[in-house]
């Protein structure tokens, strides 16, 4: 039987290309604030609903990816989404992981 | 949607006729290349203008020259805007084959391709494009100068530089 992992709905913000995730009531920047979908139907419905935000020029390119959710902590199952959720592994001062750092001149 | 002109030529009024449908008694018609090849005498016997539609993989070089001479319109299909074969077909029709009739692009294309289409000798567009005459006019004015010859007779800057 094929395992169905919890799904995270993600996209990119149109204005600056930052990765965003579907959370309660909107698009959030931090993966930890995303709302995992546990059923395939719910995930697909959310993906379709996201087209409205594409048309509204909020986001582009929505898609779903697999994650594990353990004690409320979301962990993507692919290297790609792990990196996308944080930022370049070779520049810890850039991307989401650096959100707490002051912006560079 | 009626065809829109992107040149100085007004688009002609033609009726598309499917391969298995009878030709109408009167009026300008557009037939497929296959039908033209199979029924050319019948098609040209009518005293009205004839157009042919070429799929994007069909080269106008394959049309018999005597047929091309009698055609008033060649419709070039653009199944996707990414399929840029029509630009070559139009340019070859206009230059190498000396076709003087109307060249029409039909299918899917972007407003931003209009400048290039006009340069390649395309006269009119027909498709799902939401476009106004003003937008066409803007598109045709995108660039004042051109770097290379095409089918529009415009002098390239290479020549302009040296008189």
């Amino acid at each position: 039987m094929r395992v169905v992992h919890p799904q995270i709905l993600t996209a990119w913000r149109l204005d600056d290309g930052e990765a965003v995730y579907r959370g309660a009531g909107g698009w959030v920047r931090a993966l930890e604030d995303a709302t995992p979908f546990t059923g395939i139907e719910a995930a697909k419905a959310a993906l379709e609903a996201a087209e409205a935000d594409v048309a509204a020029r909020v986001i582009v390119g929505p898609y779903l990816f697999d994650a594990a959710v353990e004690r409320g902590v979301i962990r993507p199952l692919s290297a790609r989404e792990l990196i996308r959720a944080k930022g370049p592994t070779v520049r810890l001062d850039l991307g989401k992981q650096a959100a707490h750092l002051p912006a560079r001149g | 949607m009626p065809p829109i002109s992107i040149s100085t030529r007004a688009p002609g009024a033609f009726e598309d006729v499917a391969d298995d449908a009878p030709l109408p008694v009167a009026g300008a018609v557009i037939v497929s290349a296959r039908r033209l090849a199979a029924e050319r005498d019948g098609v040209f016997a009518r005293n009205d203008a004839v157009g042919v539609v070429l799929e994007s993989h069909e080269s106008p070089m394959q049309l018999p020259p005597e047929d091309l001479q009698r055609l008033s319109l060649v419709v070039l299909m653009f199944p996707k805007f990414r399929d840029g074969r029509g630009f070559s077909w139009a340019r070859m029709l206009r230059t190498r084959l000396g076709f003087r009739g109307e060249i029409r692009a039909r299918g899917h294309f972007l407003r931003d391709q209009i400048f290039f289409m006009a340069r390649c000798g395309i006269d009119s567009l027909e498709g799902d494009l939401r476009i106004t005459a003003e937008a066409v006019s803007d598109a045709l004015a995108t660039f004042t100068h051109v770097y290379q010859p095409a089918a529009d007779g415009r002098r390239s800057v290479v020549l302009a530089r040296h008189g």
């Binding site: 990119w12 149109l14 204005d15 600056d16 290309g17 930052e18 990765a19 048309a55 509204a56 582009v60 390119g61 199952l77 692919s78 290297a79 790609r80 990196i83 996308r84 930022g87 370049p88 592994t89 070779v90 850039l94 991307g95 989401k96 560079r104 001149g105 | 994007s56 993989h57 080269s59 805007f81 990414r82 840029g84 074969r85 630009f87 070559s88 077909w89 340019r91 230059t95 190498r96 972007l110 931003d112 391709q113 400048f115 290039f116 289409m117 340069r119 390649c120 995108t142 660039f143 004042t144 100068h145 051109v146 770097y147 290379q148 010859p149 095409a150 800057v157 290479v158 020549l159 530089r161």
Partner: protein, 554 residues
């Protein structure tokens, strides 16, 4: 170097206006992403993992100090303070906002730069030898033809919607420093038996999923005819290249499918027609006009050997090492070309921060007639430096962290941005480069290993040129875990060859060990000053495969 005339300047301004209009329409909802995407790609704007990425063209890798300073300004003002130099001699900015891109393009246009056709299914930046105009073995400065091609291919109405992207490279020397055999069209400047200058044209090279070396389709094409000939190749490709499958749409697939002879026949037939019509005959006056922009700078009359340099080398071992590794001989006595390594030990290959770009601009203005080159190996070059000034240049580079003496050595690694940045990637490449670089950091060891070109790609698209690495490394995804396939024996030079895979893919933490194993085998077998590439060609893959297999078991 080339300067825009009123025609060029207007063309770029109008393009910026066109794209600004397209951005406005996108943001106002008049263009969907599907409609906007091909337009933004033709202006070099990608959407990557974390942000947009803007690829700015540096035609044939040549830029002035003023232009480099502008790139530094853009990095500071609109980006995160750095840029990445690529294997096609361009620069990439990784964090622009969409709404800022028109302003960035305006800033670029002010210094005669642009992002035109750096992506999309059109003719891309024409790349050339980074020692153009300086190399002693040069038959003709490849940038003259490169500029002619740049203009002819810009906003080409017939060839802007090709089956796939199209890359052209030109070498001016018999030693190919432009990798022409792995380009869609590769051109060598040559002389025929009568001593006349002309071009040998190759077509159908490329890397990616199905790497192939280009075949000669034109043995000798005259200057007058070269544009007509290139137009013939493009037309055959545009008309007959595959449109049904984007992985089989490059011209290399067409050449492979037709066979080189048939391809040549079709090109020649088309060329005959174009030539007969005459419109693409290149006027001699235009060739001369462009040639004049590449006239040599006012070189001083100097002795071949510099006493200043000699004294500095004797005194300063680090400077001596720099000269031994990073200096390329110049055709004019008393001058040299200086390679600036963007591969600091453990650093990110090809990246430079704004301060470093400014430093390079300053040094070039003072010591290199204002001219800088970008190489397809992600380094920079100061093409014309007096040997008397080498020590001062080295000191200035050292102060900016740009004096790593490793050009062509094992730590001079090419790496694409990979999974740290790129939406297409399967695995990280930069971190692998850093591991290898750190492992092999010892300068004496590096010198002992000699010329060793490692090239790393994070996916099959091969932007890191791994197929033509002496050691090639390809990142693959095995069940969500990054793995690396290693190949040996590739070369991008005139002895072009494609690498051969030498074992099953290994995990990230095993790559540096695998390189050590390969290097051990090389050292065990090498004779007479051979490079690793030469040893591999002589002894074959077997010794390497055996040792890698044995090492992997542990």
């Amino acid at each position: 170097m080339y300067r825009y005339d009123e025609f060029d300047a207007r063309m770029v301004r109008e393009r910026v206006a066109e794209f600004s209009g397209q951005v406005a329409r996108r943001l106002a909802g008049e263009l969907s992403e599907d409609e906007f995407k091909p337009l933004r790609l033709m202006n070099g704007l990608y959407l990557q993992l974390h942000a947009y990425m803007l690829r700015v063209a540096i035609p044939y890798g040549t830029l002035s100090s003023r232009q480099m300073r502008r790139l530094a300004d853009i990095a500071r003002r609109y980006d995160r303070g750095y840029g990445h130099f690529t294997t096609r001699q361009n620069i990439q900015f990784n964090w622009p906002k969409l709404a800022d891109v028109p302003a960035i393009l305006d800033a670029l246009a002010e210094v005669e730069m642009h992002a035109i056709q750096t992506s999309g299914n059109c003719i891309r930046n024409v790349t050339a030898d980074h020692f153009a105009g300086a190399a002693a073995d040069e038959v003709e400065d490849p940038r003259i033809l490169s500029e002619i091609i740049r203009q002819w291919s810009t906003f080409h109405p017939e060839f802007s919607f090709l089956p796939r992207k199209f890359k052209i490279a030109v070498t001016g020397s018999p030693q190919d420093r432009a990798a022409i055999r792995v380009h869609d069209i590769g051109i060598a400047c040559i002389r025929n038996a009568a001593g006349e200058a002309g071009y040998q044209v190759f077509a159908g090279g490329g890397q990616g999923r199905t790497p192939m070396l280009a075949h000669c389709v034109g043995d000798f094409v005259s200057r007058d005819d070269i544009l007509a000939f290139l137009e013939a190749v493009m037309r055959v490709y545009n008309e007959e290249g595959r449109r049904d499958n984007m992985y089989k749409a490059r011209i290399k697939i067409l050449v492979h499918q037709l066979g080189a002879d048939e391809m040549r026949r079709r090109v020649e037939a088309e060329f005959a027609e174009i030539k007969a019509q005459g419109a693409l005959h290149l006027p001699h006056a235009e060739y001369q006009r462009i040639l004049s922009y590449f006239a040599p700078p006012p070189f001083a009359d100097l002795p071949a050997v510099s006493a200043t340099e000699g004294a500095a080398r004797a005194r300063d071992g680090a400077f001596a090492a720099f000269v031994a590794q990073n200096i390329f001989p110049h055709k004019v006595p008393g001058y040299a070309s200086v390679s600036i390594s963007l591969k600091p030990i453990g650093g990110i290959p090809g990246d430079a921060d704004a301060a470093q770009m400014d430093a390079v601009a300053e040094i070039a203005a003072r010591y290199s007639f204002d001219e800088i080159r970008v190489t397809h190996e992600q380094n920079l070059v100061l093409p014309h430096v007096r040997r008397d000034d080498l020590y001062a240049v080295w000191q200035a580079l050292s102060a900016a962290g740009l004096a790593t003496a490793n050009i062509g050595l094992v730590t001079d690694i090419i790496a694409c941005p990979g999974l740290d940045y790129c939406d297409l990637a399967n695995a990280r490449s930069i971190s692998i480069a850093q591991d290898i670089s750190t492992r092999f950091a010892d300068p004496a060891r590096q010198r002992d290993l000699g010329e060793l070109k490692i090239k790393i790609s994070g996916c099959i698209n091969a932007c890191g040129h791994h197929h033509v690495g002496h050691i090639g490394i390809l990142g693959v995804d095995k069940k969500g875990v990054e793995h690396y396939q290693i190949s040996l024996g590739g070369s991008a030079a005139e002895d072009a060859s494609l690498g051969e895979i030498v074992g099953p893919a290994v995990t990230a933490d095993s790559v540096a060990d695998a390189i050590e194993t390969i290097v051990d085998v090389y050292r065990a077998h090498r004779t007479g000053g051979e490079r690793l590439l030469d040893t591999y060609r002589r002894v074959g893959a077997q010794p390497f495969k055996e040792r890698l297999h044995a090492a992997h078991q542990h």
